[in-house]
């Protein structure tokens, strides 16, 4: 049977929640009704990356890229495109400047991307092991088992320069060597898929789109360090990723790519999934291991590092999803090939979840050393609604903000650290002029205070105190001395906290203080929030010269605090105003002033 056309439908979580599953079923039904089922193959794939415009449907070999597809469009695509060969023009992706339907290879979103980790995302059906195998899947495992010694593998990783993608950037080969060289009857391999940063979904998408790459890499690691059991620790909030991974593990077992005597090599390895309940601290490796053991997820002091004494006290290699997904490629293409990509100290590529006030929200993968400007303006398509770029937040609650003057900084581990942020797992949240930096810092701190496990006092108490100060400042009750207090507590937390969570929790505050101290001062001294997002510091008034007395604002005011005669200027009763901003939004004459 030969297919003439292939329809790839994104079934990542983003598109799925926008009914891509319904689109799939409807297209399948239409295709059967039209008798095309032997000519056209429908494939559910992982994430295409351009999540902003999902659900995405791609038709090959025509290379048509449909965006914002609705279930009712399914019939039209089948009827017009698949049956009659006429692409449905109004659904084809248009790049704003040219307003022309463009070819996939010319979409600006993809121009600067380089996909290693996401090599199979949006290309294959993640639920079908054969498609992974077709794209050189399990070939790296073959090579490792039959052509390489454990030392060869470590040497290749060393040449590649791969560093942990979970955030800290520790050289992967070193971790492996530690575990390999320890004498122990039992060793473990663990995949950290406990992705918890707000707005980050790199790991989820990787597992959803290409689960076998994780299985293959963990098996290679088991062979290298002498482990026979692997665990994937993934949060229960990722049902689709879990389902795909379970399915992949089952398929691999059935084929004998997991289990006893893999491919007749004599090597045994198997993987189990452990679900996390969604505590942020469990992304920290020692807390994660405690959670797998069935204990409360709390970190412990290091050393000893997990590589020496990890799960149940046994040597354990623990790497992040993205790190794992890079490894089969490194073995197949060679460490040298991988090391050509990126910067002096940071090799390869990095996946980012680009979100916030940017036109093309989505999942992207770029070579290390790509500048923030390229990421935000070339790939991300610039700031929404033509607003001005203010800052970008990297590394989630553990990271910091980077202001406009550093937009041309090449992204790598060291550069981001120098700027007071971190690479983190790869969330990038873009902020515009309407975002108040103190409010942002408060948001992240609230998150880490909430997620702190409470074991060590710098994190438990320090976070709470800093949050209290920020809260006061946003309510106009701050004092100048607060700025120094914030810095002092923050530095103490960085130095004295037990684990990464506490050590990095002050970063959002310290980095906003570093670049936007004037905003803090404005809040404290002038009791003013220039971005207009701190409610207590915003007042709405009506300009009597501009108000024509139409009464629309009074009608929309939920607390009836706007009054005035018809066709005469209205006024707002400040004592009753709840600052919802309705009047500001509805006024057609620009008479309501926010300030």
């Amino acid at each position: 049977m030969a297919y003439r056309s292939f329809v790839l439908i994104c079934s990542g979580t983003g598109c799925e929640s926008n009914k891509s599953g319904v689109i799939f079923d409807r297209m399948a039904k239409q295709i059967t009704e039209k008798g095309l089922q032997s000519e056209i193959q429908l494939v559910k794939t992982g994430c295409f990356g351009l999540c902003e415009r999902g659900p995405i449907v791609k038709v090959l070999p025509d290379e048509t890229f449909y965006v914002d597809v609705k279930p009712e469009d399914a019939d039209k695509i089948v009827e017009e495109h698949l049956l009659k060969g006429r692409p449905v023009k109004n659904l084809v992706y248009q790049y704003e400047e040219s307003q022309k339907n463009i070819k996939i290879e010319n979409i600006p979103f993809y121009q600067k991307q380089f996909r290693i980790v996401l090599r199979n995302c949006g290309v294959i059906d993640p639920e079908n092991i054969n498609e992974y195998i077709a794209r050189d899947g399990y070939k790296a495992l073959e090579k490792a088992l039959f052509e390489m010694t454990p030392d060869d593998i470590i040497e290749e990783l060393k040449i590649s320069g791969l560093r942990g993608r979970g955030g800290a950037g520790f050289p992967t080969w070193r971790k492996w060597v530690f575990t390999k060289d320890v004498q122990s009857d039992v060793k473990y391999v663990v995949c950290n898929a406990d992705e918890g940063d707000p707005g980050a979904y790199m790991d989820r998408s990787t597992i959803e789109g290409d689960p076998h790459s994780i299985i293959e890499a963990m098996t290679i690691c088991g062979y290298t360090v002498g482990a026979h059991q692997g665990y994937v620790y993934i949060r229960a909030e990722y049902p689709l990723a879990i389902r795909r991974l379970e399915m992949a593990i089952r398929q691999a077992r059935e084929m004998g790519l997991l289990g006893k005597d893999i491919l007749g090599s004599g090597f045994d390895f198997d993987i189990e999934i452990r679900l996390g309940a969604g505590a942020f601290v469990c992304g920290e490796e020692t807390a994660l291991l405690a959670s797998i053991e069935g204990n409360r997820g709390m970190p412990r002091p290091r050393p000893p590092f997990p590589a020496i004494s990890g799960l149940w006290g046994k040597p354990t290699v623990i790497n992040n999803v993205e790190t794992w997904a890079s490894i089969p490629v490194i073995l197949l293409k060679g460490g040298k090939w991988f090391a050509q990509i990126g910067t002096e100290t940071s090799k390869g590529t990095k996946v980012f979840a680009l979100t916030g006030k940017v036109n093309n929200s989505g999942l992207i993968e770029v070579p290390m050393g790509t500048t923030l400007r390229e990421v935000i303006f070339d790939i991300g398509g610039g700031i929404k609604n033509g607003k001005k770029f203010k800052a970008v937040q990297s590394g989630g609650p553990s990271g910091g903000v980077i202001p406009a003057e550093y937009l041309d900084t090449p992204i790598d581990y060291e550069n981001l650290q120098k700027l007071g942020s971190i690479m983190g797992s790869g969330g990038l949240i873009v902020m515009d002029e309407d975002d108040c930096m103190i409010d942002i810092a408060k948001f992240y701190l609230e998150f880490t205070v909430d997620e702190s496990c409470g074991k060590c006092s710098p994190c438990r108490i320090g976070g709470k105190q800093m949050y209290g100060i920020l809260d006061r400042i946003t309510k106009g009750k701050g004092e100048l001395a607060d700025i120094d207090k914030l810095k002092q507590i923050g530095r103490a937390m960085q130095k004295a906290s037990l684990c990464g969570l506490g050590q990095t929790a002050p970063n959002p505050v310290l980095s906003t203080l570093r670049y936007f101290e004037h905003e803090y001062r404005q809040h404290i001294l002038e009791k003013k929030c220039a971005a207009g997002s701190c409610k207590e510091l915003v007042f709405y008034t009506i300009n009597p010269q501009k108000c024509i007395g139409c009464g629309l604002c009074a009608m929309k005011c939920p607390v009836n605090c706007i009054s005035g005669e018809k066709r005469k200027p209205h006024t707002i009763d400040q004592s009753k105003c709840i600052k919802c901003g309705n009047c500001y939004t509805v006024c057609k004459f620009g008479a309501v002033i926010k300030g």
Binding site: F6, E39, P61, K84, R86, N130, E131, E142, G256, G264
Partner: protein, 129 residues
């Protein structure tokens, strides 16, 4: 499914690779475009398209893409097919039924020989270029 051996895995990879490569367009230099306007379909263009895909598959030709397009304007000789490939002139064939389609693959694409009795034209100049 029984556990597979190394040999079987390699064989499976070769086999599935061929399937998945059909989706890719990159690096493929030969293009067969079948006119699938209403008149084309009425004249049997679907059968033609199928014949192309099947013959290409049968002969294991890897760098050929079969696409469909709307009406090419030669309604009197439907189904029409355009073939674009290196070292050969761009050619439009008319009255291409399934048998002719097979002949085009074998003669034109494999042996680089025009199927003269069905050549209609070269494409009209594209004024947008």
């Amino acid at each position: 499914m029984a556990k597979i051996t190394l040999e079987e895995l390699r064989r499976l990879r070769e086999q599935t690779k061929a399937d998945i490569e059909k989706r890719e367009v990159e690096g493929k230099e030969t293009l067969v475009i079948v006119g699938m306007g209403t008149c084309g379909i009425a004249a049997g263009a679907r059968e033609t398209l199928k014949a192309f895909v099947e013959t290409i598959e049968k002969l294991g030709l890897k760098d050929v893409v079969v696409k469909q397009t709307g009406c090419m304007g030669y309604c009197y000789v439907e189904p029409t097919v355009e073939v674009v490939m290196p070292d050969m002139p761009r050619t439009i064939y008319g009255k291409v039924n399934a048998d002719v389609a097979r002949k085009i693959v074998e003669d034109h694409i494999v042996h680089k020989k025009l199927v003269s009795e069905h050549v209609m034209d070269k494409p009209a100049a594209d004024i947008m270029k």
